[in-house]
C-alpha cells in the first residue's frame, strides 16, 4: 500500500527499521509514525470501544481522536498516529483505559 510513483511528491523515506506489533514483526521506515507503518502493513483495527468492543481504526492522524491508543514499550495510551516508530519498538493493542504508570 506504499505509493511508489507520484506526480508531485518525492517521498524521502528514512532508513528501514523493524518493530513488533502483537508479537509480529513489521517493517517500517525511520521518520514515519507507528500508525502509518501499521497502515502500510495492512493493519486496520487499532483498538476497541470500551463498552461495546466495536473495532476502531485510524481516524484523525493528528493526535486528536484517541482512536489509536496503544501500549508501546510498556507505556499505555500512546497516540500511535503521532508517535515516531523506532527500531525494536514493542507495540501492543490496548484493551480498556490502561494504566497511567508505565511498566518496564
Amino acid at each position: 500500500m506504499r505509493i511508489e510513483d507520484h506526480p508531485i511528491i518525492k517521498f524521502k523515506r528514512g532508513k528501514p527499521v523493524s518493530f513488533t506489533f502483537e508479537g509480529r514483526q513489521i517493517e517500517a521506515f525511520e521518520g514515519e509514525t507507528i500508525a502509518a507503518a501499521l497502515h502500510a502493513a495492512g493493519v486496520r483495527v487499532l483498538s476497541h470501544s470500551h463498552n461495546l468492543k466495536r473495532p476502531r481504526g485510524f481516524f484523525c492522524a493528528i493526535g486528536n481522536c484517541s482512536s489509536c491508543l496503544m501500549k508501546v514499550n510498556g507505556a499505555y495510551n500512546v497516540r500511535i498516529c503521532v508517535e515516531p516508530v523506532n527500531e525494536g519498538d514493542r507495540v501492543e493493542m490496548q484493551e480498556g483505559r490502561g494504566d497511567i504508570i508505565a511498566q518496564a
Partner: protein
C-alpha cells in the same frame, strides 16, 4: 517560569505569520507547537494556493512553512524561540500557560498570547461511522501526502467542499480510485476550478446525496448512499450500494477553542464560521486584552486569510507592548488584503458570519 514577551500557541500558517509579524516589530516571540516540526497542516497541502499573491498564491502549501521559517530565523535572530513537541495543556487565571514538552511540565507567563490552534474535523452521524476505514479527510492527506501510504483501494468521498474536491484529486494522483464524491447540498460547495479538475479525472460528483450507512465486520466493506429531496429527506427507493474500503469525511471543520474557553474569552456560536468562535476586535484581540487569535480557531477559512489574520494578531500583540513602528500603515495594508480575500461570492458566508459576530454578543 519562562517570561517571553509574546507566546504563540500553534505553528501552522496563522501562528507562523503572527510570529513573523511580531518579530518584525521588534518583539520577542516564543512559538509553541505540539508537533515535531512547524507548519501545521500545510505539510500535507500539495495543491497550489489561490487568493492573494502576498499569501503565496500559485505556491504549493507544503512549500510555504519553509519560507516563513527561514524568514523568522533570519529576521528574528535571538528573538524567535520555537518550542516543538510542546503541547499547551492549560491557561490559568493569572495568565500562566502550562505546557508539556516531552513529558516535562513547563510554566510560561507571556505578556501577550496569540492563540492559533486551528481546527478539528467534524464528524457525520450515520450507522457504522466508527468502523475502521472511515477517515477524516485530513488523515487521508497525512497518510498519502506525508507518508506516501494509500488509505485503501476505493474511496467514497463525503462532502464536495474544497477539501473533499482537493483530496479526491490527490487520491487519484496517488493511484487510488475514487468511486464518487457525494454532497448533501444541491450544489457543489468548493471552487469550480477544483470541481472541474475532479470531473475531468472521471470522478462523479453526486449532489443531493448522503451516506445512510457504512457496513462491514471488522472494517468498511461498503456504504449505502441515497438521494435527498429539497428538504434534505432521504428519497425512498433511491439507495445505492457502493463497494468501497474507505469512506473519507470532508464535512467541514470546527475551531479548536478549548484554550479560549479556559482563558474565559467570550465566544459566540456562528455556524457560518464553523461553530463557537471568539469575539474579537479588528486587532484580532479577544475579550481578554492580553489574548489574540488568528486562523481557523477564529473562523474556519483557508490558509491565505489565516496568514493575514496572523499578521494582524502578531502586529498588535507587539504594538500593544510598545513595538508600534508603522502600525497604522501595516494594519491598513493587512486589512485590505483580508477584504480582498473575502470578496466575491465565495466569501459571502464568511462576511455574513463576521457581520453577525461584530453585531455583539
Amino acid at each position: 517560569m519562562l517570561k517571553p514577551e509574546i507566546a504563540i500557541v500553534g505553528g501552522g500558517p496563522a501562528g507562523l505569520s503572527a510570529a513573523l509579524s511580531a518579530v518584525r516589530q521588534g518583539a520577542e516571540v516564543m512559538l509553541l507547537d505540539r508537533d515535531p516540526s512547524l507548519g501545521g497542516q500545510l505539510v500535507k497541502q500539495t495543491h497550489m494556493f489561490f487568493g492573494s499573491k502576498k499569501e503565496y498564491a500559485a505556491i504549493r502549501g507544503i512549500d510555504i512553512p519553509g519560507k516563513l521559517i527561514s524568514a523568522l530565523e533570519d529576521e528574528g535572530k535571538g528573538r524567535f524561540k520555537p518550542l516543538l513537541n510542546t503541547a499547551v495543556l492549560g491557561y490559568y487565571d493569572d495568565g500562566v500557560i502550562l505546557a508539556d514538552k516531552e513529558e516535562e511540565a513547563m510554566l510560561i507567563k507571556p505578556q501577550k498570547i496569540v492563540i492559533a490552534t486551528g481546527a478539528a474535523e467534524k464528524m457525520l452521524p450515520f450507522p457504522g461511522n466508527d468502523l475502521p476505514g472511515v477517515y477524516g479527510a485530513g488523515a487521508v492527506q497525512t497518510l498519502m501526502n506525508v507518508y506516501g501510504i494509500k488509505p485503501g483501494n476505493r474511496v467514497l468521498m463525503v462532502g464536495a467542499g474544497n477539501i473533499g474536491l482537493i483530496v479526491s484529486y490527490q487520491l487519484r494522483q496517488a493511484g487510488v480510485e475514487v468511486a464518487a464524491i457525494i454532497e448533501g447540498a444541491s450544489r457543489i460547495g468548493g471552487y469550480l476550478v477544483h470541481a472541474t479538475k475532479v470531473r475531468r479525472a472521471g470522478i462523479p460528483i453526486l449532489t443531493s446525496h448522503t451516506i445512510k450507512e457504512a457496513y462491514g465486520k471488522q472494517k468498511v466493506e461498503g456504504a449505502l448512499i441515497c438521494n435527498l429531496d429539497e428538504n434534505w429527506c432521504a428519497i425512498p427507493g433511491s439507495d445505492k450500494d457502493m463497494k468501497v474500503d474507505v469512506i473519507c469525511l470532508a464535512v467541514g471543520l470546527t475551531p479548536q477553542t478549548e484554550l479560549l474557553w479556559q482563558a474565559g474569552c467570550q465566544q459566540k456560536y456562528l455556524p457560518e464560521l464553523g461553530g463557537y468562535v471568539p469575539l474579537r476586535n479588528e486587532k484580532m484581540q479577544t475579550s481578554l486584552s492580553s489574548v489574540y487569535v488568528a486562523g481557523d480557531v477564529a473562523c474556519i477559512e483557508e490558509a491565505g486569510s489565516a496568514m493575514v489574520e496572523g499578521k494582524i494578531a502578531g502586529l498588535f500583540a507587539a504594538a500593544d507592548l510598545g513595538y508600534d513602528e508603522k502600525v497604522e500603515e501595516r494594519f491598513l495594508a493587512y486589512s485590505q488584503e483580508l477584504e480582498e480575500l473575502r470578496a466575491g461570492p465565495t466569501g459571502a458566508k464568511i462576511r455574513e458570519g463576521l457581520a453577525r459576530l461584530n453585531g455583539g454578543v
